[in-house]
Every structure is written in C-alpha cells, then in structure tokens.
Amino acid sequence: MRVRLVLCLIGLALSWPALPEGPRRLLAQAPPGANDIVARVQQAFYAPGKDMKARVTMTLLSTGGDKRLRDLTMLRRNGTGGEQQYFIYFHQPGDVRGMTFLVLKYPRRDDDRWLFVPALNLVRRLAARDSAQSFVGSDFTYEHVSGRDLESDRHTLRGEEQRRGKACYVVESQAQEAAEYSRKVAWIDKATWLPVDEEYYDVRGELFKVFTADEVRDVSGHPTITKRTMKNVKTNHRTDVVFADVAYDVGIEAEIFSERYLREPPRRWIQ
C-alpha cells in the first residue's frame, strides 16, 4: 500500500511539468469566490422570483440564410429545494401549434419531460438524453434554458475584467460531468450577476460556441436578459432569442404543471 502511494507520488512528480497548465491550475487554488459567484449566477439567471411567464421568440439562422422561428410561451415555477417546473406552449411553427411540453427539473437528477402531440392526441414521456441536447433544434441546450448543476463543473475565478463596458468576473468552468463543452469561460457582470459573454470550448479545446447577452432590462427589480444570442462559430449557425412580456411573481398555480394541462393548456396564461 505504502509502496503504491510512493509510486503514485513519484509518478505525479514526474508528470507534473508535462501536464498542460497543471502546476498553474493546482497552485492557483480556486479562490473561495468561484463557486459562490456561479451559485449567484444560477439564481439571477435561471430562478429569479417565485415564478415567471414570458413570450419567447427564437430565430434559428443557418449559414445558408435559412430562417426558422420558434414562438412559445414559457411558464416557470420554482419549487422547493432547487426544484423547478417549466410549462411550454408552442405557437409557431404553424404545424406544431398547440403542442405543449412539460419539464420537471430536479437538482442532481435527470429531468422528467412530457410532450403532448396534438396530431395524435397523445401525451408521451420523453427521456432526457443528455445535457448537450439541443432545445427545440436551436443552438441552446436544455441546460442553457434551465441551468446546469453547480457541481457538474469545476469552477475557477480567472480574474476580473471590463467586458463591453461592464465590470466582470471571469469564471472558467471545467466540465466534470457529461457536457457539450469541455471548458466554458464566462464574463459575469458584477452588478447583475448575469453573464455578459460566454465562450464554449469543445473536446479539442477549440472555441465552438459563443453566448452574448444583447439586452438586459429590469423587470420588477430582477435584471433580465431579454435578448440573447448563441452562435456556433464552427458551423456559423446562430439562434437569436427575445424574451417579451416577461413578468415575475404572477402566481402561476402548481397544478398547471401536470399531464391534464398539457392537453388543455391554461388559457389564463397563454394568449
């Protein structure tokens, strides 16, 4: 046992300089701030208020100039212990009008997802495949919409920087669990705790996606990103998202997040 330990230490010592940025990363111990920053971002970005309602328009732009629209109403309700419920109603594209989608989100566990298919008048449960899964064919993943577990990445504060006129923390997140990226660098606005820019690097360490918050508005005291863009710099595919009619703490009932309402969407919340 002891021999093995010694061997391990020797091995580590020998491979130390060979590790890319290894020594630097370990020596520059994550300051206690990094995880706190990310936790505050999670709160400000994905969970402000007790509930939220918004009309979301996603424009999917391909390199070839092809333009697709996803027009939906999103209802969110925060549960207890980090649980969240999402109810999504599709207005567009035309042939999916009336399709509804329910996501029950649990910390450290796969989501439950149900989908109502009007053409078949059927509700089907969808398996949550992996975190890298695209949200309705856009450049955003489900995690971009509803957040990612804090513990799934190792976060490091890389410093502080001015970014597009805002004083920011630069936080690097190394994926520890499955993710579409191996590394993400985010510039966090110190004033709002919302990301200004994010850069995503793939398994080869190459930049492939860039997130930008294009417009931030104050809605009932919650700074809210009302325009955002995710661009895949490798394919040049881009998704522009506009959040309109955002309202917090409107009193969305818990029972709405159920199979019954999938079939009969609540008129009160969805115009």
Binding site: P93, P118, A127, Q133, S134, G137
Partner: protein
C-alpha cells in the same frame, strides 16, 4: 536567330554554358516558393456549377464535403463487450483528432436512435453505454438489427461489421487524418480488424503519393537514361548533356510556373517526365554528330554541319510538340491549361538549348575521346544492319506493308468503341493496397463508402411534410435499391416511419408514413426536440422544402453513379412525381461530373491538338500528302494503343487521358526526322530507294535509339505502387516502340506508294544548305 545561335555557341562555348547555367539558376531561385495542390478535385474550379451546387447542398443540410469511413470487422460478431468497448473508445479518440468535425462523427455510440422504453420515448445513442450483461447485449443486438436506419449503414446485417463515419473540416487532409486513425487503431489489441476508407483517403493518399513517386521515379528514369546514353555514345559528358537539358527545361518551366504564382498541381507535377521525353529528341543531334565526326576532320565544322542538317527537323518537331501542348490551353480545365502552356514553354527551352548549349558542349568535350567513341559508329554495325533489312523489306514490298498497316488500323478501330470512359480513384491503387482493401471490405460488409445525395425539392415550405411526397420518396428509394451498386439508402422517410412506430407503442407494423401532414410536422419537431439538430438537418431542411436522400454506393465508379441517376430518371418518367424535383449532389456526383468534364475536355482538346499537329506537318512539308504520310506513325500508334485499351477493358481514366498528351510530344518527332532527313538525302542522291534505305539505317538508328532509351528509362515505373504510374510506364514503352517501329517500317512503303513522285522541296533544302557558308557542299 536560331541560325546564328549555333555559330555563336561554338565560338564562345564556355560563355554559352555559363549563360545557360546562370539563366537556369535564376528560374530555379523561385522553386523554394513552390506551393503544391494535390487535390484532383481542383481540376474543376471552386466556381464550377457542380461545386457551387454541392456547397449549397452542404449548407442546406449541414453536410461536410469529405467523409472518412472507418470499418470495424469482427468475424465472431460485434455483439461482444470487448469489441463494443473498442468501438466506443475509438470513437472518443477520433472525435479529438484535428481536422475532424467532432460534433458530427457518427458511430453506434453517437448516432441518434429513437426508441420506446417502458412507454417513454427516447432519442439516445444506439449504444449509450457498454452492455454489461448477456441480456443487455442481446437487447442491443435486437435494437440494432430491428432498425432499418441502422442496418447496413452503421452495423452490417450479419452483425459482423460496424462503421464510424468521420466528416472532415474543410481543407483537412484526408491522408493525414486517415494516418492518425490508423495509428489509433494500431494501439488496439484483440480480434478486431480495422479499415480506413473514403474518397478523401484515396484522393489525398494519391495526391501525396503521386508527388512522392514523381520524386523517386523521375530521377531514377533520368539516371537509367544516363547509363543507357553512356552505353550508346560512350561519352559521359554528352550523356549528361541530354539529361541536363531535360533538367534545365524542367527548372525553367517549373520556376516560371512558381514565379507567376501558380500552384504545382498533379498535372504539372508530371512535367519533368514529359520534358525528359521531349529532351531525348536531342539524341538525333548526337547521332548525326558521331556520323559527321567520322566524315569531317574539323570538329567545329562537324558540329555546325550537324546542326545545319538536323536543325530543320529539330525545329519542326519542336514546333509540332509545342503546338500540340499549346492546344491544351483551349480546354476548359485550368490545371490542364497551365500544364499545356508550361510544357510548351519547356519544349521551346529544350530547342533553344539544342542550338546553343548542346553545340557548346560538343566543342568543350575532349576531342580525342569523342573521336575514339565515334569510331564505333557505322552504318554497317549491328543495329543499322537489321534496320537496313527492315527498310529493304518496306521499300521492296510497299503494298504488302501498307496492307498490314490497314489490318492493324481495322483491328484498332474495332477496339476503340469498347473503351469505357470511367474514373475510379480507388482503382488507382493496387488490389492489395491498404486503401483498396479497406474500400472493398466496407463495400462488401456495409452499405458502401461512396456517397451520393439526391436532393428532393418541393414547391414550397413544408412540401416534404406531405405524406404523398414522402411516399414518393420512399418508392423511389425502393426502386434505387434494386440497382446492384446501391448498398443502402436513407432519407427522412425512414425517420418519420421510425418515429411513427415508436409513438404508437413500438409495433413493427406501425413502421409507416402517417396520413396527415400535421402529424409528419409534429413528428419531425418532436424528433428535433430530442435529438441532435444535425441528425434531422442532414435529412431535411428546416423549411421542409427540401429533403436529402442518402444513397450509399458500393463502388467509386463514375459509371455506377450514372447508372443510378439514369434509373432515377426512368422511374420519374414512369411514375411522375407529385411536384417534386430530384437533383444529384455529393462527392459521388462530383466524381461523375469531374469524369465527364475533365475527361471529355481532355479528349476534345487532344483531338484538336492532333488536328493542329497535322496542319503543322502539312505546312512544314508544304504538302497535304507528305503531311498525312508523316502523320501515319503517330495516328496509328494512338489508335492502336486505345484500341488495345478497348480490348483489355481498361478504363479510359484520368492518368490515361494525361498520357494521351504525351504522345503528342513523342510520336510525331520520329516521322518529322525521318521525312526531313530523307528529303535532304534525296537532294544528294536522286534514287528514291537508296535514299530511303540510307534514311532507315542512319537517322532511323537515332529514332530506334531514342525509343529504346526512353522505354528503358521508364520501365522503372512498372514497379510503382500506384497503378497510374504503371500505366504511364507501359504506355510510354508501347508508344515509343510502336511509333519508332511504324516510322521506319511504314514510312518507306508509304513514301514509295504515295509520295515518290510528289514534287518535294528537296531542291529548296539543298539550296538552303548552300546559303550556309560553313556547310557548303559538304554533304556525304
């Protein structure tokens, strides 16, 4: 100027040589800036219709121009824990390779698969995790073999082979990525066999191999030629001169090509070989020089008389050759035009050297050695004697000889229509080569490595969500699959049917197209919500105005693609499509167009070049009759070689078409030399038969020497690992030997039959001779 040049050169030989070397160094100075372009695809410019449309299709469907297919075979079946672990590990490692489009690498561990599990609809990789129990393994086997979208595309029907599809980033080198993948698989242990195939592998391997082999074989051929030349002339300096002239011409042409900013393409990489072939024409000068040296005591006079005698034919062969290559410039293919221009330029450089550098060297070589070497030269010696016998036969029995020629012509003409214009890059490799074996195995076990896209376009948005349109696409798919060469077809229809089945409790009989457009739309949306966007996008555009039908072919034959497209057209005629249009795209289609455009263009320009050569011959002899007679050895050689290709069943492909151009430079030289020298001789000796026999024995010897020398040098190419090089070798040997033989065997007979009484300009030639004070009446 060319008349003055030799005099100048023999007067200041050292200065001439120095100037030639200095000029060569100026051109050579550009060479370090050489850029190479090994991609045969670039024979068609990026702005050509097919490349523009292919790029458009790639954009519509998020496709990649180039894809490598890695085949993995296990004889005992792939449904084995260890084997699947290897597949999984290999996929993970390939994704990390530079030049690979990481997000779109498709294997059993990454491909989206729609399944129903305990009432839950799930889109997940076919193999999300390695099964750890026998039951799980069995379930996986069932899931795979039950899914038509997987069988023969990702896993073979017998479950013994699987594929990893590796798309490449634009500009990535297929050979380099393939080499890296081969390194990865070489680290795997176990009973799996791996095969790396696909168009980019063949193309880029060929591209780099071609340059490499050119670098090996061109110098080797040069060296062999040097040895043979030494054997013939017994003087190393003179032997070096011929090879040196070829090298200088190559350096001048290549230097100029680089200087004007052109990349060295596959086509122009062949230039050294061509110029070496053309430079051997200088043998005639040396041949005559050795004869003269025995007859004329003064070396300076011998040199000038040689140049004066051989000058006219050498000039005209240069003109004919340069014009022949120059005509390649009228074609539509840019690299062929570049090649034509610079080879023509090189030809002129060689001629310039013939009148300057070569006479200068002749003055510088030690005279006693030259005289000793030339002592062996005699018209009664071995080769000349058998040539004389051949000549006598031809002169004495002209009709019989001519008839034999007609018979040969008829045989060639029968074979000619059997030629198949076809290109298959994989067949540029030998049957046992890694590239070819890999391709064969993947084509045998799986759907095929050659990929054709058929884009179905409807009248507007959502057109391809219409069940009627989908049913038509499906029917067309089933029809195409009847074709032998089609290994697998995949379209959005397969996906829609699959989702329908999974939505409706996974009952196999529900594997069908739903009845309403809305249902199709919702299925696709649903799939898009759960799968990687790319999976859906490669099959249908976001607007659903277009769908992409993937057709995997079991061969890279351009002809096979043509066959499939013809079938599709026939099907559409018999079953008019409901407002759908079908357009082919993809690498397989590109190869077909490339085949059509490049090869047809080559054939067109080649035929034009032949016509131009005929006109030049006619003009140079100022007689159609002499022009036609002198064209016979070239024409008959070409027809016979292509006739033989027809009989043997070898495809008329890119290498063969390139070689056609070579015949322009070679075969015509012999006839020009023969006839020119014959007519000069006629001025001294009015007897036709005697003059012909003299021509067969003396310049004829130069012709045969030239032919043998070159055949010998290029025989080394028969040992190449690339079949096009073997073709080059065999072609050159056949061409040189046939045209030399035809020249000395048929020309005397034809001259006796058709041109005996033709008023020649022999008197004019003799007259021209007297103008030159050096030569005077010094003919023997």
């Amino acid at each position: 100027m060319l008349r003055r040049l030799p005099e100048w050169a023999v007067t200041w030989p050292k200065l001439t040589v120095a100037l030639a070397i200095a000029a060569t160094m100026v051109f050579a100075a550009w060479l370090p800036r050489m850029r190479t372009d090994t991609d045969p695809k670039n024979m068609l410019p990026v702005t050509s219709d097919v490349r523009v449309f292919n790029r458009q299709v790639e954009q519509w469907f998020g496709l990649h121009e180039d894809m490598i297919v890695v085949g993995i075979v296990r004889d005992d079946g792939l449904f084995d824990r260890a084997a699947l672990e290897v597949v999984s590990r290999l996929t993970d490692r390939i994704v990390r390779l530079p030049g690979v489009v990481a997000a779109d690498v498709t294997s059993v561990t990454t491909a989206d698969n729609v399944v129903a599990e305990a009432g839950t609809l799930s889109v997940q990789p076919l193999l999300p995790a390695i099964p750890d129990t026998a039951q799980a393994l069995e379930a996986f086997r069932h899931a795979v073999l039950d899914n038509p979208m997987v069988v023969d595309r990702l896993v073979s029907a017998e479950g013994r082979a699987t594929a990893i599809y590796v798309p490449l980033e634009p500009g990535a080198n297929g050979k380099e990525v393939a080499d890296r993948i081969r390194t990865l698989v070489s680290e795997e242990r176990g009973d799996l066999r791996f095969y790396v195939a696909g168009d980019p592998v063949a193309r880029d391997t060929f591209g780099s191999e071609m340059f490499r082999q050119m670098a090996i074989f061109a110098p080797m051929a040069g060296l062999l030629m040097l040895v043979a030349l030494y054997g013939m002339f017994r003087n190393l300096a003179l032997a070096f001169t011929i090879v040196g002239v070829a090298m200088m011409a190559t350096l001048w042409s290549m230097g100029l090509l680089v200087a004007i900013g052109q990349p060295v393409h596959i086509m122009s990489s062949m230039m050294p070989v061509f110029l070496m072939a053309i430079a051997t024409d200088s043998i005639h000068i040396f041949n005559e020089f050795y004869f003269r040296l025995r007859e004329v005591p003064d070396r300076r006079r011998a040199v000038l008389e040689t140049i004066d005698t051989v000058g006219a034919p050498v000039r005209y062969t240069a003109l004919a050759t340069a014009a022949g290559f120059g005509v390649l410039m009228i074609g539509g293919i840019v690299p062929v035009r570049v090649f034509g221009f610079f080879t023509a330029f090189g030809t002129l450089v060689i001629r310039l050297m013939s009148f300057s550098f070569i006479p200068a060297v002749m003055m510088l070589v030690r005279e006693d050695r030259l005289r000793r070497a030339s002592r062996h030269e005699s018209m009664d010696a071995g080769a000349s004697r058998s040539l004389a016998w051949l000549g006598r036969f031809s002169v004495n029995r002209p009709r019989a000889v001519a008839v034999s020629g007609v018979v040969l012509l008829a045989v060639a003409l029968v074979g000619l229509p059997r030629i198949r214009i076809n290109n298959n890059m994989v067949r540029w490799f030998k049957p046992g080569s890694e590239v070819r074996v890999a391709d064969a195995v993947i084509n045998e076990q799986l759907g095929g490595s050659s990929l054709l896209y058929v884009v179905a376009s409807g009248p507007g948005e959502d057109a391809l969500k219409d069940p009627a349109a989908l049913r038509y696409v499906e029917a067309a798919q089933r029809d195409l699959e009847q074709e032998q060469v089609v290994g697998k077809t995949t379209s959005v229809v397969d996906l829609v049917k699959r989702v329908n089945r999974v939505m409706l409790d996974d009952r196999p009989k529900q594997e069908q197209i739903p009845d309403s457009k809305t249902a199709v739309g919702q299925y696709l949306f649903l799939f898009g919500m759960a799968a990687k966007p790319a999976t859906l996008n490669t099959l249908i555009t976001g607007s659903a105005e277009r769908a992409n039908l993937w057709v995997q072919l079991k061969t890279w034959d351009a002809g096979a693609v043509e066959q499939v497209l013809t079938r599709l057209e026939t099907y559409q005629l018999a079953h008019p499509p409901p407002g759908l249009r079908f357009e082919p795209a993809g690498i397989a289609y590109f190869n077909l167009v490339w085949n059509r455009e490049v090869l047809r263009d080559m054939i067109r320009t080649f035929v034009t070049a032949l016509a131009v050569v005929l006109v030049i011959l006619t003009a140079s002899f100022r007689s159609w009759r002499w022009g036609l007679v002198s064209f016979v050895p070239l024409g008959l050689t070409i027809l016979l070689i292509y006739g033989a290709l027809g009989y043997v069943g070898k495809d008329f492909d890119m290498p063969v078409s390139v070689l056609s151009a070579l015949s322009l430079g070679m075969a015509v030289d012999f006839a020009i030399h023969f006839i020119r020298r014959y007519r000069q001789r006629l001025a001294d000796d009015a007897d036709t038969s005697r003059a012909l026999l003299w021509t067969v024995a003396r310049p004829g010897k130069g012709i045969m020497r030239n032919a043998v020398l070159f055949s010998l040098a290029f025989a080394v190419m028969l040992f190449s690992s690339l079949t096009p090089y073997i073709t080059v070798g065999a072609f050159i040997i056949a061409m040189m030997m046939l045209s030399a033989f035809f020249t000395v065997f048929y020309l005397p007979a034809l001259i006796v039959l058709f041109a005996r009484r033709e008023p020649t300009d022999a008197h004019a030639a003799a007259h021209a001779g007297t103008v030159n004070p050096v030569v005077g009446h010094g003919r023997t």
